[in-house]
Every structure is written in C-alpha cells, then in structure tokens.
Symmetry: C2
Subunit: 644 residues, 2 copies
Amino acid sequence: MMKSNEQVQVSLRSSFWNRFREVVCQEGIPYQWKALNDELPTASPSHCMQNFRIAGGKAAGKFYGCVFQDSDAAKWLEGVAYSLTWRPDETLERLADQAIDDIVSAQRPDGYLNTYYILNGMENRWTNLMDNHELYCAGHMLEAAVAYYQATGKRKLLDAMIRYVDCIDSAIGPEEGKRHGYPGHPEIELALMRLYQLTQDPKHLKLAKYFVDQRGQAPLYFDEECRAMNRRCHWLDGPVGYQYYQAGKPVREQEDAEGHAVRAMYLYSGMADVALATGDESLSEACKRLWNSAVHRRMYITGGIGSTEYGEAFSFDYDLPNDTCYCETCASIALVFLARRMFRLDPRSEYVDVMERALYNGIISGMQLDGKRFFYTNPLEVLPQACAQDPHKRHIKPERQEWFDCACCPPNLIRLLTSLQDYLYAVQGETLYVQLYAGGRLEAQLPGGKLCFTCQTEYPWKENVCFVCDGTEPVQGDMALRIPAWCSGYTLSVNGIPVEEKPRMGYVHLRRVWKAGDKVELTLAMPVTLYQAHSAVREDQGKLAVMRGPVVYCLEEKDNGSALHRLRLGGITGQDFRAVWTDELEGVIALESPGLRELTEACGEEALYAPVSEASEKAVSLRWIPYYAWGNRGTGEMCVWVRR
Amino acid sequence: MMKSNEQVQVSLRSSFWNRFREVVCQEGIPYQWKALNDELPTASPSHCMQNFRIAGGKAAGKFYGCVFQDSDAAKWLEGVAYSLTWRPDETLERLADQAIDDIVSAQRPDGYLNTYYILNGMENRWTNLMDNHELYCAGHMLEAAVAYYQATGKRKLLDAMIRYVDCIDSAIGPEEGKRHGYPGHPEIELALMRLYQLTQDPKHLKLAKYFVDQRGQAPLYFDEECRAMNRRCHWLDGPVGYQYYQAGKPVREQEDAEGHAVRAMYLYSGMADVALATGDESLSEACKRLWNSAVHRRMYITGGIGSTEYGEAFSFDYDLPNDTCYCETCASIALVFLARRMFRLDPRSEYVDVMERALYNGIISGMQLDGKRFFYTNPLEVLPQACAQDPHKRHIKPERQEWFDCACCPPNLIRLLTSLQDYLYAVQGETLYVQLYAGGRLEAQLPGGKLCFTCQTEYPWKENVCFVCDGTEPVQGDMALRIPAWCSGYTLSVNGIPVEEKPRMGYVHLRRVWKAGDKVELTLAMPVTLYQAHSAVREDQGKLAVMRGPVVYCLEEKDNGSALHRLRLGGITGQDFRAVWTDELEGVIALESPGLRELTEACGEEALYAPVSEASEKAVSLRWIPYYAWGNRGTGEMCVWVRR
C-alpha cells in the first residue's frame, strides 16, 4: 500500500510550469473570482457566490445558474487553497475566508448545504440524485474543505462539510429508511476518501464504499427515482442508457469506459481510492479494466477522452474522430486524477505516461496562454467554417471562450495547476518515484530519513535533467526515475558513472545511500517522432502525428495557410524536422519540416470530380507548434493528424 | 424555347431499367398501396388513405400521420398514372379510380382539399404555410391529377384539383385581402407549371410566378406568420435560418444552394419552369447560379445532395462528409427533375450528365433490389456499429427499411422509375436529343416528320449503342447524341461511315434525311476510371473513387472483409481492374482489382499510438460492386472512397 503524497515537499521552479502557475494565480484566480461574482461584463452570468449569500440571508434574490453552480466556487476555493501552500497571499486568503463565510452561512441547521435546493425548495432535496448534482456539489465542496484545511489549518469549512457529510449519511445509505441512492455525477466518492485520509473516521470510508458498491445494483435506484418522480431518463432513448452515468450495472461488472467521460473518471478515481483503502481486489481489477478501455482504445493522442458530444461521452473502441470529438478539459484533468490513483494501486510508469500526455497537451490546451479564456472541448482538427455552419460541430469552438454557462472547466484548471507540484513525485516504502520532470527542489520523507534534491531541467523542451542531492545527512533510499514511454533512448549516470540498471515497470531504480553533492544526470533523447494510430482508428488511417518528447504538435493556418487538409508529409521522417526555440507563444520549441501541398490547380475549380491525375503538389515548409498553444494567434484552421 | 417532352413516344426495352420498372410495378406499387392502407403488419403506420376516407365521411376516425401525409397518396397515384401509359392494367386503374374517389370525396365545397386541416380544424388552414406543407401536398396532388389525366383521359381528379387551385388562389396572392404567403416546402410551383402547360390558363402561370417572386421578399411572410401565431421558427437558432426554406431572401438574390435539399430542388425546378415560360432572364440566371452551387460544389459523386442531417440540408462548399451525409433519395430524384428543366433552359449535356449520375447511383440505391425496402439517406461510407452507437449517425441506416414515418422517398422512387422513359430523349426544333442510352424504340415528332428508331444497347454495362431507323418515310432531322462527360473516348458511325463531327455543348449532331435502315453505331469506351475529388473536399483527400461508365462502385464488407478503412489501392490504375459479369445482385458488372490491406499486427493490439513503422500490408484482391446495389446481402461496412 502506498501512502499519500504529503511525504514529499516540492518547491517548483520550472520555467514551463511556473509560467502557467503564475498566470493562474495572477490572472486566473482573480478573473474567475470576478466571474463567480458576475463582475465580467461580457461573460455568461454565474451568480454562484450570490446564490450562497442569498441562501445565507445576506442578500435577496433567487437561485440562478446550473444545478451544480455551487461546485464552481468549490473548485475555485480548492485551487486557492493549493496556491496558498506555495504562494502565500494574505489578501487572497482573506478573500477565501470571506467566501467560506458566505458558503457556510448558507448551511441549514441539519448540515445541509446546497443552494439550489435551499433556494428552490428543501422538500425536494434528495429526489433527483440522478441529474441534479447534489452529491457532486457536496463532493467538490468537501475537496475544497480538506484542501483549505491542509493549506491553512482553518477548520471552518471542513467542520461544516463534515456536518454536511453526516447529513448526507443520515439520508442516503443501505440502512432501512434511507434512500438507497448514489450520485448521477460521481465525485463525492473520491472526496469522501480524501476526508477519510484526513479523519480516519470509518464512517467516511463506509459511505464512499457504499456509493461505489451500490452503484448500478438491481433494482436500479435511478429507475425507482424516476418512477417516484414521474420522470423519464432521456438517455434511455439513446444507445448509452444508464451507462451515461456509469450506473447501468454494478461497477465491478463494467467492462468498458462508457458514458459521460468526466463522470467516468471521477467514479473510477473514487473506486481506486476505495480499492486502495480496503484492499478490494475485485475493485482494483475493475479499475484496471476500465483504465485499459479508456486509455488503450478510447483516448486521443493528446490525452483527450470523450469521442462524442452526445452525452459528452465515450463512444466505442477506436472511434476517435478528430473534428467532432468532445475531449472536455475536465475529462483530461480527471484522467490525471485517475492516473495518480492507479499508480498508487499498481506502481507502473504507464499511468504516469498518460498523466504526462494529458498534462502537456489536452489539458493546458484548455486555457489561453494569458489565462483568461478557455476551451471546454479540445478538438484535434478545426475548420472554423464548420464550427459556424455545421450544427453537429457547434460544440467545437475555434477560439477559447471567456466563460461558460456550464463553467466546470476553468476552475478545474485552477485546482490542477495550483497543485501540480503534488504530481511530480510519489513515495512508496523507501522508494521515491520521480514521475514528472520539472525544475525545483524536493524533500522526501523516507524511512531512512529525509531525501533532498534540487532538480535542474528545461523539460519538456530540453533533454537533460540533473538532480543534485543537498541533504544534510546521508540517507538510504531508492530513487526511481521514470523512463517515459515516448523515450526510446536515454542515458543515466550517478556522479558521472553510467547506470547499467534496466528499467523495471518503467522506472530505473537507484538504490544507495545518498549524500550531499550526489549528482544524477539523466538525458531523455527527444528526437521528433512521427506517430501512427492503431490501424483500427479509422479517422487517423494514412495519417501521422508529430511529437517531440511528451509534446504533441499541430499545424495552424496562421503558419501554414488555409486548407490544411491539402498538406501531407510526403514520406519525411522525424530526422527531417528542425526544432527551433521561439519566444512566440510565451516561448516554445516550434518545429520546421518539409512537406507537400496539393495545388488547387490539380483539379480545376469547376470539376468537383475528375479522373485521377498525377498529384500536382509543391514542396512547402511546414511549421508546427505545440498543440496546447493552438488558437492563441487568432482564429483559423488547426490539425494534429496529417496525411503521410 | 423548348417544348415539353410529349413529342417523343418511347417504348423502353432496357434489360437494366425494365427490371427496375417491373419490380416497381409488380412489387412496389402494390406494396406501397398496402403501406398507404396500413396493411403491412410490421411497417410504420401510414393511415394516408384512411385520412381521405374519414375526411370524405366514408369512415370514422381521426387524422393520423405527418402534416404532409396526403402527399404519399399523390405520389403513388402519379406513379400509377405513368405506369398505365406503358403497362396497361385494368385492375390497377380501377384501384386508382377508387383512390381518386376517396381523395375527391374529401374535398370541401369551396375546393379545399387537405385532410390534415379538414380533420383538425378548417379554421386553422393557411395559418402555417411555413411548416405545415399544405401547398406542398396540393402540389403533389396536382402533379398526380395532371399525370392521371394524361395517362387515362380521366378528369375527375384534375377538375377537383383545378378547383382546389382556385381555392388557393382566392386565399393567397399579392392582392389585398389575401395572405401574401408561399409554401415552406416548395412543390406547388412546378406543379402549377405542369397544370399551366396543360391548361394554358394564365392564372395558373400567374400563381406559380407569384409564389416564386414573392418568396423571401421583405417583410418576410414567415416572420409575420410566426408573429401572428405566436410561434418561433426554430431554424433561426441555427446557422441556416429562413434559408432552410430557401426563403431568407428573394430567389433572384440567392447565391448558394442552401437549406433543405429537397425543398431547394423543387423550388429551383419551379423557378426554371417559370423562367422558361416567361423568358425571365434574371430567373434563369438564378437557376444557373443555384445549379452551379449545388452541383459543382455541394454534390456527392453519387449524385447525392444534402451534406448534413441538420435540416436534411446543404451545408457549405466542398463539405462532403461520407459517413454523416444526408443524401436523401428524394433530393437526388428532385435533382433529376431540376436537371431536366435546366436542359430545357439551356441545352447542354452537363445537366444530363448529372441526371445520369444521380439515376444510376444515388437514386436507385434508395430501393432494395426486390423493391420492398428503402433507404431515406444514401451514405457513401457505412460502419454499422457507428450507426448503432453514434447518435450523430443515427440517420444513417446500414440496411434499407420497410417504411418510414415520413415516407416521402418510396413513392418518389415509384413516380420517377415509372416515368423514366420520358427522360431518355428531348426534342427541340428539329433536333432530337438522345439523353440517356437505353434499349427500346422511339418515335419523335419533328418538324420534318416522324423520326423512328430502335435502340439496342446493354448500357450501362456494355459500350455499344446502336440505333436503327425504322420509319416509313425519309425524315429531315438532327439527331444529337450525348457524349457523356465520363467518356473520354468514343467512336461513332452512320451506316458504317465514321462521323468526324465534334461534340457541341456535349452533343454530336447528326443532321440528315433519315431513311429506314439507317444505322447509327456509337461506342462509349467504358474503361474503369479512378476519380479524385476537388482538392477542397477534405473528406476525400488522399482517396479515390471507382467508376465504370456512369456507375459508381463501392467496396462491401461481404466481399472484402471488415475494417474497410484498412484497405488502400496502392497505386493501381484503372487498367488493373477486371470487369466481370455476375448474376448476383440481379446481374451486374462487378470489378476486381488488386489492393493492399494493412495488417493489424502493424501496430500491436495494445498500442493505441506508436512510432510510425513501415506499413505492414498484404496484397489482397478487392471486389467492387455498383454502389446502387450495396446493402442487398445483409448488413456490413461499405465505402465508396478508398485511400490511394
């Protein structure tokens, strides 16, 4: 069993990630606070904080927003909590304290705390667990409460949420007289497990385990709930049914990642937490099966998941359309949550490879480089005209948006990016796993003592990573360095002596007594590599994608002209690419390569169909930018997969 | 100006078309009559004829069906009328007479005849011209009335419909006190022009011209109608707006083929009729512009039109997805109607090339070879799993259906196939245009006398067409033979003497005094030809389609295994194909070619993305069948466009 991450203290000094984190702190957190308080004149209204104030009797008015509006504040608060751990800010902390005052003021005497029902009629609470996100909001606020307590030591929100959990526990559960329900949108499971890790109170584990175990059991609770309320679940009219909620069957019987992708990832994360805490093998097996389904057969090369807008959901194996996909930012973020937990269950680098893929590509693509605009969906191919004129692509936006009616993604980005330091390392027994390479300093508490390193690297742009031990005393320990799956050639030395040790489960283990000045030098060769998709992926057949290290690249109209589909690689290899640093896009390695462009003259303007002729192509120079940075220079076409 | 087609009498003896026509007469007409009378136990209910009987007081009950349910009977009746001209059938004629009795019995004293409003409240008639298809149904019934009169000389339905036209004329029109409306679904325009050709009554022309001219004029009638009825046009929420109805602006200002494809084709057909009758140049120009938009930038290689299920509509230039297209059977049929009229305005072979493309491909694909099942949409690529699991492809059916709630396509096929003989030839002045090659005999009334030929050909399977003159007297005349655009090599002789004359506007003109025994021998070389799409067509980039003569071919899973996307042509040319006659599929030329199949081992079962490796492909033999015959051997994958 692996303990949680708090054994590692990390001070991040990565030029790549620090920029993102600073943008989030300087721009994102204040910007989103304004959004939550309707202070952005042109953005979709939120009313989120006002709902709490009205529910707390501090303001007059009615509830406004989605049924899950409370969760936006929760995620913002959680992100603020993480930021305070490495970037103290008294003003911000006071603001968060005030927000907590407003939130807690809404709590009812019995502990209940959900503004939608408080303001719309408490008599209806717990009557639509399927669709009204009550437990989902509770989960997010619980995560915020735990994070804020851990960051500041302040218990106000934590105590309020423990009372709310008691309230939920009194209403829902296996015992007679309680509703035998569970959330339509999972989230509370993993949140309860975070609470349990803090409180070690068995009732918190018990409730989380109940939600996991009860899900999808016959007779189906959602069926009963619909019958009681004379509703019909509209997903039953489509191919997905109750699996939209991952509730069509008991979780241990689920074979494929199905339904709403964010819900799936949150659920599987909670399942993994419960499996880890209880040692439940059948649950771990289910997690692995569902992970394999999602990641090996239903994931985009960017770490995006959710192939279809219908239900914001997984579709079927190898169905990965690039221009109609969903790939919600939240789904990739939740995939990172899951990956971290899967690693705890089973310490293999595969999980971290996926985490890294999502982080450097399909997640940070969700935010404008200035931190002020956001993608909800992260397509791999965009034709702005199609977004405007094809209603089946209306969910694909060719430019990031200020805010959303359903604003789940922006604060999810905040809480991930402000807690990024927690994902870099993991400790298990006497092993310090180095998961993600990023400059900074770490102190890891191992059984043999405190292991301290400074890490220097310009990852993901440069190949070299150097760790220097700066501990005061020698410490026995195992430093396990992840060799990323994308890396086909690395060199590793300790104090200049090459390491012969081969990777096990994706890690090279350096087991020794570490002394100050010990130096680990790792070079992860980053040649530009062309990737093909599995031959079952129809949409990528005959096409290739370009990566360098963990970074997926794309072509933009801005650099390569319009009609990107007319371009092809023409048989080039990775060696034909040139990596060039540019200060554009806040500083990235761009790529240049030769390529071919089909000339429009090849087929006269009037002939829609003509006998095939020798392709009339001209040699062109292609310019590639990191996928995550697309759409930062105006609106235009973009594509990741390019014809060979 | 060209006169209508009735100057040519054709007796069709084409093994290709006669089989279709016999299926339609022996199976389709009786089958559809059962459908219209709810005598098919497992098909969607129709209630169509019963609505008339209830409205006529012959039965009790309520209206059931779509607002345009009446039109199914009209199209059936129109098809029956055509069939009676070349296949007399007393029993069928008696049945049609009874149907007409039932239909006319529903007519109100003032001439009104629409069962939806008669049975649901006459006070609401004319209040929803935008969506309730009143004038559309009137148009179809009018076409049936004209056809039935021309076939049988019986005036009952014709007289009833002339009264109905008077009723419409009294309610709608430019004069004060009338509604200044026009149909949301065009059809009545072309029907009125057919009536006008028969009656030469100027008020029939005037009403048709009014509908054409008034359409889209400001202030927009549909806006006013919605306001009056407190409705909102839901197309205003999408990109298409009132152009869904081709009513967003006056027809002469419309630049692109937009909106619902069937409506567009019917409207443009009516416009062409009015332009021909009035000599209105601005209207002809609009027709040509809209034709060019539809055919040169928005048409599939099968003659399918309508790229999107949203609105069953055109989308935008060169947007031609193969697996989500609409390509409604009715739309291609209506494209044939339009093509015929465009030729009358401007006798170029281009229009007939499109007519032929639609006829041999995207139209007859709409009917099972046994005449009993139908496609509404005619996709160019089908993965049955996607149809089942991707709601955005739910409109794509992997197998033909027995009937539809909206059953417009099956009777449209009947009326087209039973009147096919009218599309083979056209007379203008002293010129007899040979449009489509099909065996049979024709008598054409030219200014110099009656020109009679027997045509022998196994078109579209064989290259030779032979016309032998069998008239009793020598006749001066110009026989204009269409050289199809697909044909890059032909030979032509008259009485064994090669013809040197080059085609003009797509026709070789043979001007002479024709005597009995004169023999015209035309060979249209039909090598298998690989076609590429215009380089702006994203979805076909890097792919080719296969044609032989006018017939588009496809690959089916049945012949080529599953995962058709793994196949590619591997650089073969048309010469690598072998054409093989098979009795399968009611007798077709199938094609065999070499090809390459990517091996699944090329990319291990577990690696969704892997560095590109040499494609591991094996040589395979591909078998191609005519596109129109796909889906006749069980359910499976199909595709037209194949990677190079």
